[in-house]
Subunit: 683 residues, 2 copies
C-alpha cells in the first residue's frame, strides 16, 4: 500500500500545471475528471467549532490556559474534533465543502501575549512560552486524533511568527526581534509543538519579522521551520497576507511577484486572492512547476491523510448527535469553572446561598461576552446573571448599570446607573460583572474599538464602568468584582476595595453556570493567571517594541498587581516538602501538598526555575513545569513533575539554547511572596 | 380641602414668569424655595416599564391587541403601573427624577395602523378604531389606577393625530385627511379614550395634519380635543416636534415663534428644547403670562394628582419586590400565548412531544426580537428556541440558517444555510422562526433599516430568509412557520406550503415559553389578527396617501390572505345561535358558542356590523363588539355582548357621526367565508 504522499504524488501528476496552481487557493475548485471535489480549506475551532452554527462553545483560549490543565485541554480538543468531524460528515453529503465546513482548522493561536494591549491576546494561551507550548501541544494532539492511519483534523499553528499587534499596523508592520527573544520567546512554542505534536500546518503572519514578510520569509519558513524544527506539513498564509506584501509591505511590485515569492519561500496555500496570480507569475518565469508541484503534493498529502478520498476512515462514522452532547456540555462547564481565577477573597466567598444578591454590570446578562471571538453558536447559553439566578436561593436583583463603553449615549438614552445603586442598596452583596468584550478587544476588522482596530489604549475600565463602580462602592455593600476580559486590566482599586475579585476571561456557553458554581462553592476555584496583571500600561515598554525587556513575569522588573500564575482557592493548600533530582531527561520534582482547609479542591502547582547568578537579559524566573490535582480536605498528595531538559536551557544572544551550569532554585506554587516552597539544584 | 387644581394654582402663583416657563420643559428644573424638586416628565411603558432597567416586558402592543382581551390588558396595565410606581418610589429617594424615572408615561400609542409598511405599527393596537379605542381605554385605566383621590400614573395618548408614516418624512409631512376619515378612523380612538378613560395627557404628533403642525394646531388641540372631546388634561409635544415647526414644516421663522404658537394652540409641555425659547418669545410679545400660567397650572395639577407633594398617597407603599414578580411573569406568559395567532394548521399542531424538531431561523434564538421597541430589560428571557427546548421531550436541533437580512455578508462570513438543511433532514418537523425585528421595522432614528428610516418597502421577507425558506421547504419536511413581525407580511407561499403558520408578533420576555405552550398544546391558540394580512403591497394605495379608501378590512375591496380578526384554534368552535335586540344603549347580542372539539380553549368572538344598502365611502363592515371566554370541550357558552350606540353610527362627509336608519346584519366570528353566524337587525 502506498503512502499518503505517494497517493498525492500520483494524483497531482495527473493535473495540469494550471490545475495545480488553482489547488493552492483556499477555495480550491473541483477537478471532476480526477474525482477531486471542490474544497474550502478555511475552518476555525479556537475553542469549539467556529462559524459553522451550533457547537459546544468552550471558554476562550486564554481561559483554558488559566485552567493550567493539559489533560482537560486535550479532552476538550477531542470533543471539538468529534464535533468537527460530525459536522464534516454531514456537510460532505452536499458533494463539496463551503467555507467553515472542511477538516483543515486554523487553530490554535500560539502567539505570545507579549503586551496586554493587544486585542487578540485572548486567542492565545498567555504570556509564557512553556505554558503556550504545552497547551498548544495538548490542543493539537486532541484535534488531530490518535488514529494510526488517518488524521482526524488538521491543526494549524498560527501566526508564525512574532505576531502580537498593533492590529492597526499588522498589514505593514515590521516586528524586530533579536535572536535571543526570537528563540527564547517567540518561536519556542512553535518549535515545541512541531516537535511534540506534529501539527499538519503552520500559518504565516501578516507582519514582517526582521524585514521579511512572514508569509514569504525564507528565514522563517525554510531555514527555521523546515530545516531547524523539522516541520513536515504545509504552510498557509493568513487571509490577504500575500497581497499585503506588495500593497502594504512594499517588498514586491504586484500580486504576481508576491505570490511567486511566497511559494518559493515555502507558503503552500493562500487564504486570499494572491495565488490567482500564480499563472501570471509562471508565465513571467517567476515560479517553476517543480516548486508548485511540491506545494500541491503537500496539500494533497494532507487531504489523503484526512481520509477525504478513502472509504475506511474511522472518523466517517462520527454521528451528528455528538454536537453539543451532554458530555461536552458537562466538560465545558468544568473547563469554564476551572479557568476562572480567584484574585482576592476576604472570606465572603463561597456565598451564603440565602443572601440577597445584586448582579450589576454591562457584562452580567450579555450572551456575546461569553463567546470571545472565533466562536461557534451555542444553542444554549448561560449568562452570568442566569447562572447566579439558578444557583442562588435568595432574591436576585439585576441592573445593567451602565453601557459597556460611554460612546454614543445621548440625553434621551437610558440612564441605568441609579437602578444599580438601588439594587445594591436592597442586597446583602453585590456581584459586579464588568470588563470588556470581544467587540472592544479583538481583531482588526472585527472589533468595534474603531480608533485602535481592536487594541486597548490602556488597562483601564471604560469610563462608564468606572463611574458605575464608584457609585456602587459608595453604597458600602460588599462587592464581588468579576472582571470579564481577555487581557490584563488595572484592578488596583478593586483589589483594595472589593470583598472578592474574580478574573473570568470569556468563559464560553456555560460561563454563567460556571460562575454560579464558583460563587456558591460548588466548585473550588483553581485557575491561575496566564498573564501578568500590571498596575498600569505606564509600567510597560512601548506597544510597538518587540523586545521582551521588562515584559511578562519572566523579565518584568516592576511590581505587578497580580503576577503570572497567581490564583487563590477557598481551601488552604500548603507545600509540605519539595525535592528535586537530576535525571537524564531533565529534573524530577516531588512536592507533597496538603489541603489544610475544610473544603475539597483542585490545586494547581506551577514550578518556576530561577538562577542564582542571573546574567544579562536572561529571565528572572520561568515556568518549567506544572500539574494539577484534586485534593480532599485534610489529605496530602504528592505531585511528581518531570521537568524536561529543554526547558532548563537558556538562550544566548545568538539564539542557541543550552543549559548553563550553575546554581538554580525551583520555586513551587509561585515566586517572590507567593512562593510556597523552594529547593536548590545545581545544573 | 382644596382641589389639586387649586393647590396647583396656589403654587404656580408663587412662581415668577420665568420660573413658570421653565416648568414647561420636560426636564423641569427644581424651584428649591417653593419645595419643588426637579422633575423629568419623560417616561415610557408601552408594554412594560421601559428604558428603566429590569421590568416585566410584556408582548408588544400589537401582540396584546391580538389577544382581543380587555380584562387581561387591564390587568397587564395594572401590573405595569405597579412596577412603575415601585420604581418611582425608589428613584425619588435621590431627591429628584432623571429621564425615565417619573410617573408621567407617554403610552399608549393609539394611532391607526393604516398601512403595513409603517415601521412603528407594532406600537399600536392595529388597524381598527374600535379595537384600538377599547384596548387603549383598558390600558389607560390600568395605568392610571382606581384610587378615588390620587392617580397612579399619568397615561398619554399618542400621537395626536393622523400619524402613521412615512418615518423618513415625519418631521415635514402634511397628512391629508378629510372630515370623514378624520372622525371615522383617525380620531375615533382618541375621542373614545378621552370619554371613557380620562387620560391625563395627549401627545401631539410630529407631522402636520391638513396644514397645521399637530403640536401647534388650534383645530386639533383646541377645537377638537378640548372643545369637542372635552379633554381635561395636558398636552405634550413629541420630542423635538416644536423645533420641526420652523426647521422642517417652515410654518414659523424660528424656535421662539414655534414655541409661542405651540403654547397658544394648547401644547403645555415640551419634549425637546423649543420651550427654552419661550422667554425670548415672551420678551417679543409673542406669548402672554396668562396663557403660560394656565399651561403650568395644568402641569402642576397633574403632579399634585400623582401625589408628588402628598404624604398620604397609597401608591407610595408599593414595594420594589413587585418588579418582575412571579405573578407578573405568569401573566406575561399567558398574554404572550394568547397574543399568538394560528393562521394555518393541517393537524400537525399540537406537536407530538417526542418528535425530533429542527428549530431554524434568525429569530429562533434572538433575545431582542422578543422585546419590540419602547421596551424594558427583562432579567429573564426565553427565546423561541429555549421555549421549544424546554417544552419538547424529543431531540431539538438548532440552526440559525441565515442572517436576518442579507446586508454586509462577505465571502468570509459564516454561511449558515446548509446547517439548516442538515437540521431539517434529521428532524421529524421543522419550526422556522423567521420575520423581522424592531431594528428592521421601527422608528426613525432607532431602526437600522437605514434607507427607509424604519419603514418597510414591501411585505416580503428579506432575501436571505426567502433563500433559507426555499432550501428548507425542499427537504420535504413539514414546516411550522412562525412569523415574527409587528406588521403584516406576505405569507402566501407559507399558507400553501407549510404544515402550520403562526403569527406571533414581538411576544415579550416570556415569548419562547409561550410559543412552547402553543406548539405543544399546553395553551390552545385564541389570538386574532388585529391587522389585515395582504398578499402584496401592490394591493394597497400609495404609502403617503392618508385616504382610507381600499385600506384595512373596513374598506379593502381586494382579497386579503388573512383578514382582520382571523385566527384558528386547536378545537372546533361553532356559533349555535345568534340573536340581537335593540336597547337604549345600543344593541344586545347573544351568541351560544359550542366547543365541539376535544380540547378546552378560549374562544374570541368578534362581532361585525354591515349595512345592506352601503353608501359611498362607508365601511364594508366594522367591528362593533368582541369578547373572549374559556369553553371546555363539549360545553356551550352563551356570550352576551352589549354593543354601544356610538359604534353603530356612521360618519358623514362632514365628520358628523349618526346612526343611519336601514337594514343591517351582525356577523359573528368573522366576515365573508369566516362568518360563523349572522343575524339581521334594523336600526
Amino acid at each position: 500500500m502506498s503512502t499518503f504522499r505517494e497517493q498525492a504524488q500520483e494524483l497531482v501528476s495527473k493535473m495540469t500545471f494550471g490545475e495545480k496552481m488553482e489547488q493552492m487557493r483556499y477555495d480550491a475548485p473541483a477537478i471532476p475528471r480526477l474525482g477531486v471535489p471542490a474544497y474550502n480549506w478555511w475552518n476555525e475551532c479556537l475553542h469549539g467549532v467556529a462559524r459553522s452554527g451550533a457547537a459546544t462553545v468552550f471558554p476562550q483560549a486564554i481561559a483554558m490556559a488559566a485552567a493550567f490543565d493539559r489533560p482537560m485541554l486535550y479532552e476538550t480538543a477531542q470533543a471539538i474534533s468529534d464535533e468537527a468531524r460530525a459536522k464534516y460528515n454531514e456537510y460532505k453529503t452536499f458533494g463539496d465543502t463551503q467555507i467553515y465546513q472542511g477538516l483543515t482548522y486554523w487553530s490554535p493561536n500560539i502567539n505570545i501575549f507579549r503586551d496586554p494591549r493587544w486585542g487578540r491576546g485572548h486567542e492565545t494561551y498567555g504570556e509564557d512560552p512553556y505554558l503556550t507550548a504545552t497547551m498548544g501541544t495538548a490542543f493539537v494532539k486532541g484535534l488531530q486524533g490518535e488514529d494510526g492511519t488517518y488524521r482526524k483534523l488538521d491543526a494549524t499553528l498560527k501566526h508564525y511568527a512574532v505576531h502580537s499587534g498593533p492590529e492597526a499596523l499588522r498589514h505593514e508592520f515590521d516586528a524586530k526581534a533579536d535572536q535571543k527573544d526570537l528563540y527564547e520567546t517567540y518561536l519556542y512554542a512553535f518549535r515545541y509543538c512541531v516537535e511534540h505534536a506534529d501539527p499538519s500546518a503552520v500559518m504565516g503572519a501578516y507582519n514582517r519579522t526582521n524585514g521579511e514578510a512572514c508569509c514569504a520569509s525564507p528565514t522563517l519558513l525554510q531555514k527555521i521551520l523546515r530545516e531547524e524544527f523539522g516541520f513536515q506539513g504545509y504552510v498557509v498564509s493568513d487571509c490577504g497576507a500575500i497581497c499585503d506584501i506588495n500593497n502594504h509591505h512594499k517588498l514586491t511590485a504586484n500580486e504576481a511577484e508576491s505570490a511567486a515569492l511566497a511559494v518559493k519561500s515555502g507558503c503552500d496555500l493562500n487564504c486570499g486572492s494572491a495565488y490567482v496570480w500564480l499563472k501570471t507569475a509562471a508565465a513571467a518565469g517567476l515560479i517553476d512547476e517543480e516548486t508548485i508541484t511540491e506545494a500541491v503534493v503537500r496539500l494533497f498529502t494532507a487531504r489523503f491523510r484526512l481520509g477525504m478520498f478513502a472509504k475506511d476512515c474511522p472518523y466517517d462514522n462520527l454521528s451528528y448527535d455528538v454536537v453539543e452532547c451532554e458530555k461536552h456540555t458537562k466538560l465545558n462547564r468544568q473547563m469554564a469553572a476551572d479557568g476562572m481565577v480567584l484574585l482576592k477573597n476576604t472570606g465572603i466567598l463561597p456565598l451564603n446561598p440565602a443572601a440577597a444578591v445584586a448582579v450589576i454590570g454591562p457584562n452580567a446578562d450579555d450572551r456575546l461576552v461569553l463567546l470571545g471571538n472565533y466562536n461557534g453558536t451555542p444553542s444554549r447559553y448561560t449568562t452570568f446573571l442566569k447562572g447566579i439566578q439558578d444557583a442562588s436561593e435568595g432574591k436576585v436583583y439585576y441592573a445593567r448599570g451602565c453601557h459597556i463603553t460611554n460612546q454614543k449615549v445621548g440625553n434621551w438614552a437610558e440612564h441605568p446607573l441609579r437602578e444599580a445603586v438601588l439594587a445594591a442598596r436592597r442586597s446583602d452583596v453585590v456581584v459586579m460583572c464588568m470588563g470588556l468584550n470581544a467587540l472592544i478587544e479583538g481583531e482588526e476588522g472585527d472589533a468595534y474599538n474603531g480608533d485602535r482596530s481592536g487594541d486597548k489604549a490602556d488597562l483601564e475600565l471604560p469610563n462608564s464602568q468606572r463611574e458605575l463602580y464608584e457609585a456602587v462602592i459608595e453604597t458600602g455593600k460588599p462587592v464581588i468584582f468579576v472582571n470579564v476580559s481577555g487581557s490584563a486590566m488595572n484592578l488596583c482599586r478593586q483589589s483594595e476595595e472589593c470583598a472578592a475579585v474574580i478574573q473570568c476571561f470569556y468563559p464560553g456557553a456555560e460561563g454563567g453556570n460556571a460562575l454560579g458554581d464558583i460563587l456558591y462553592g460548588k466548585v473550588n476555584p483553581s485557575g491561575r493567571l496566564p498573564v501578568t496583571f500590571y498596575r498600569s500600561h505606564k509600567d510597560l515598554p512601548d506597544f510597538e517594541d518587540y523586545s521582551m525587556e521588562n515584559r511578562t513575569y519572566r523579565y518584568f522588573k516592576g511590581k505587578p498587581l497580580y503576577p503570572f500564575g497567581y490564583g487563590l482557592s477557598y481551601t488552604n493548600f500548603q507545600v509540605k516538602s519539595l525535592t528535586a533530582e537530576r535525571t537524564e531527561e531533565g529534573l524530577s520534582v516531588s512536592a507533597a501538598v496538603a489541603n489544610e482547609g475544610s473544603l475539597d479542591g483542585k490545586f494547581t502547582l506551577p514550578l518556576y526555575l530561577t538562577r542564582k547568578d542571573r546574567e544579562g537579559r536572561d529571565p528572572l524566573r520561568w515556568l518549567v513545569g506544572y500539574d494539577k490535582a484534586f485534593i480532599r480536605a485534610g489529605e496530602t498528595l504528592t505531585f511528581r513533575i518531570a521537568i524536561e531538559e529543554d526547558i532548563l536551557a537558556m538562550t544566548g544572544e545568538d539564539g542557541v539554547r543550552s543549559v548553563k551550569p550553575g546554581e538554580y532554585e525551583i520555586l513551587a506554587g509561585g515566586f517572590e511572596e507567593n512562593c510556597m516552597g523552594r529547593v536548590k539544584i545545581r545544573l
